[in-house]
């Protein structure tokens, strides 16, 4: 870790609640590099939320030190500290008596920003989270759907452009479809803002999808494993983690494999290639070159097989999903313009996927 700077460092942080002998969080050492998303996950009562709240000192640690961007913040004024850290909670936690713009402006107002600057910032952030400012800025939270409220919650946390964001199960109470979309948007936003994010979740799927690293907490406030998602899934540190990750690990790993990293089979669009013997499927394309149906498939009746596509930016998980959905044993992988880049066969999944060396 010579290149990357550590944004959050927890040194021997421990929390013992008054009147209890067992620690809620046991002597914890953890470093979070700048610009990464760290997912805190574990069963209820494992201390993941306590850990999150100790970072901004909503909960005061019993012992240990918290270092934020090189500065020891264990004893600084908690209120001033929290104004420099974004905070998102379940369902957004928007103030019902504040308009959307005023909700977003809470922290800038406390920091003494000029009124016009606050308004401009609110508009800018509404835009960033995909809500039209002129429509939403004067509305009240109750006039928004749960997903929209959560977007505003994220915008509010970003208002004063804090380097660090803490998120406490932000998508926990949202229906699965909306949650999936919010997660995608969240990753999109993170790509532009590049914050250091601490994210509490109880959903392993979410942890694998969003996290650069996953911290698995065990009952009793012990950090059982702190690794990148792939390692947590494939090499659980102990029995607790392997139990927690469960039997679905192999399937979950699929969502970590990006299609762009795979060695795909070639695909032909030329009519002349119909009937070839080298096993290359031939697709019929429309005027723009997008595949519409199969002309020729090796060892199979092309007319009886639906042509399904998956974007190159997706993962193997997405590819499996469309194959199951379309009852097709192969899927065409297409680029942003919809042009075919290759195919993935069902058999590839069990035969072992070939990954290309990452071009970096």
């Amino acid at each position: 870790m010579s290149e990357t700077e550590n944004m959050i460092v927890l040194e021997a942080v421990e929390k013992v609640y008054p009147g209890s002998t067992a620690p809620a969080v046991e002597r914890l050492d953890m470093t979070i590099p700048k610009g990464e998303i760290v997912m805190l996950i574990g069963p209820s009562g494992c201390g993941k939320t306590t850990t999150l709240k100790m970072v901004n000192r909503l909960i005061e640690p019993t012992s240990g030190r918290i270092i934020l961007d090189g500065e020891d913040v264990t004893d600084v004024n908690g209120d001033l500290l929290r104004r420099k850290i974004g905070y998102v909670i379940q369902q957004g936690g928007l103030f019902p008596h504040f308009s959307i713009a005023d909700n977003i402006g809470v922290v800038p107002k406390m920091l003494g920003w000029d009124k016009n600057k606050i308004r401009e910032r609110a508009d800018e952030l509404l835009h960033l989270v995909g809500l039209e400012p002129s429509t939403y800025r004067d509305r009240y939270p109750r006039q928004l759907s749960g997903g929209q409220q959560q977007r505003v919650g994220v915008a509010r946390a970003l208002a004063a452009d804090p380097p660090v964001m803490l998120m406490d199960e932000p998508f926990g109470a949202i229906d699965p479809i909306t949650r999936d979309r919010l997660q995608d948007e969240f990753l999109e936003i993170q790509r532009t803002v590049g914050k250091t994010i601490c994210f509490v979740t109880h959903d392993l799927q979410e942890a694998v999808k969003l996290g650069d690293r996953i911290a698995v907490f065990a009952t009793g406030g012990r950090l059982a494993q702190y690794d990148d998602p792939d390692t947590v899934l494939t090499h659980p540190a102990d029995d607790f983690v392997s139990d927690f990750v469960g039997g679905g690990a192999a399937v979950r790993r699929l969502s970590l494999l990006e299609l762009s990293r795979l060695e795909l089979h070639p695909v032909e669009t030329d009519v002349a290639a119909v009937g070839n013997q080298n096993g290359t499927p031939v697709a019929e394309v429309d005027g723009a070159g997008r595949p519409v149906s199969w002309r020729h498939l090796p060892d199979r009746d092309a007319a009886g097989t639906a042509l399904v596509t998956v974007p190159l930016s997706g993962t193997v998980y997405d590819a499996v999903d469309v194959m199951l959905d379309g009852s097709a044993s192969l899927v065409a992988v297409v680029d942003d313009e919809g042009l075919p880049q290759g195919v993935l066969h069902w058999n590839d999944l069990v035969a072992g996927l070939k990954t290309r060396e990452r071009e970096r």
């Binding site: 909503l58 209120d79 929290r82 379940q90 936690g93 103030f95 008596h97 809470v106 946390a157 803490l166």
Partner: protein, 267 residues
């Protein structure tokens, strides 16, 4: 909560739109037609009373007692008693209620509320008479009325602050609001509807109880009742009863409209 830079008195498009869509006093009435029931009953009742009395032959005592100047001055005293005691309830019970809801004061909350319940259980008439031993006049009447109406506001302030969604307080603290800022910009605004409901109860309680203030020389509409009973004038008793009932209904109605206006504003 945005302070718009508009000159007072100059109607802006938003202000106009607000009035037609439920803001303001008239807007509330327009949006809630059920609020028209009480004033109609009051007007019809007073009209019938007036028609009945006009048809009666009043003797000099009755006529003098029912002179508009006399009734109005007693009405004025009555309203002042109500106003003083309600304002006193407001400035005593709301701060105590807020103090009781602070994390440090949770332990004394129960005993203090019990004390409030005790004050409420005391019959107001008895309290007023006891205070009369100390001093005759408006001052003791106001103290008695205040004591009797303290509990609803105290309890509603505590309950109103308790029912504020804990996650909102956490969100406020998590964004760096001090506990004081959280109290004034999140907790109290969200508790206002419940506190106002308590104030409405106190107000109506005071309007009724102020009728008894006459027994310790503090005047009010009770004067008319007392006179009617003492001199055995049924017509007078009937009219004073009607006026007191009408006043109580009217005050309750006004408080109700104000309450809805406030609730509509604070979302």
């Amino acid at each position: 909560m945005t302070a718009l830079d508009i000159q007072p008195g100059v109607p802006t498009p938003t202000e106009k739109a607000g009035k037609s869509s439920g803001g303001g006093f008239l807007g509330v009435i327009r949006a809630n037609y059920d609020l028209l029931v009480a004033p109609i009953i009051v007007v019809v009742g007073l009209l019938l009373t007036y028609l009945y009395i006009s048809a009666q032959n009043l003797d000099t005592i009755e006529a003098r007692a029912l002179e508009p100047a006399n009734v109005l001055s007693q009405l004025g005293q009555h309203l002042l008693l109500t106003l003083y005691s309600t304002v006193l309830v407001l400035v005593i019970a709301v701060p105590i209620g807020i103090a009781l809801s602070r994390p440090g004061a949770r332990r004394v909350q129960g005993p203090v509320l019990a004390l409030g319940g005790f004050a409420q259980a005391l019959p107001p008439f008895g309290v007023l008479l006891l205070l009369g031993f100390w001093e005759f006049g408006i001052r003791s009447a106001v103290i008695g009325l205040t004591l009797a109406a303290l509990l609803p506001v105290l309890r509603n302030t505590v309950v109103g602050l308790q029912q504020v969604d804990q996650s909102l307080i956490e969100a406020a603290r998590g964004m760096g609001m001090s506990s004081r800022q959280t109290l004034f910009s999140v907790e109290i605004p969200l508790a206002v509807p419940v506190i106002v409901a308590g104030l409405r109860v106190a107000l109506v309680l005071n309007v009724g109880t102020a009728t008894l203030a006459t027994y310790i020389g503090a005047g009010g509409l009770g004067e008319l009742v007392q006179q009617a009973l003492r001199l055995n004038r049924i017509n007078l008793l009937f009219v004073s009863g009607a006026i007191i009932a009408a006043l109580a209904l009217l005050i309750d109605w006004l408080a109700g409209v104000a309450e809805r206006a406030i609730v509509a504003r604070s979302g």
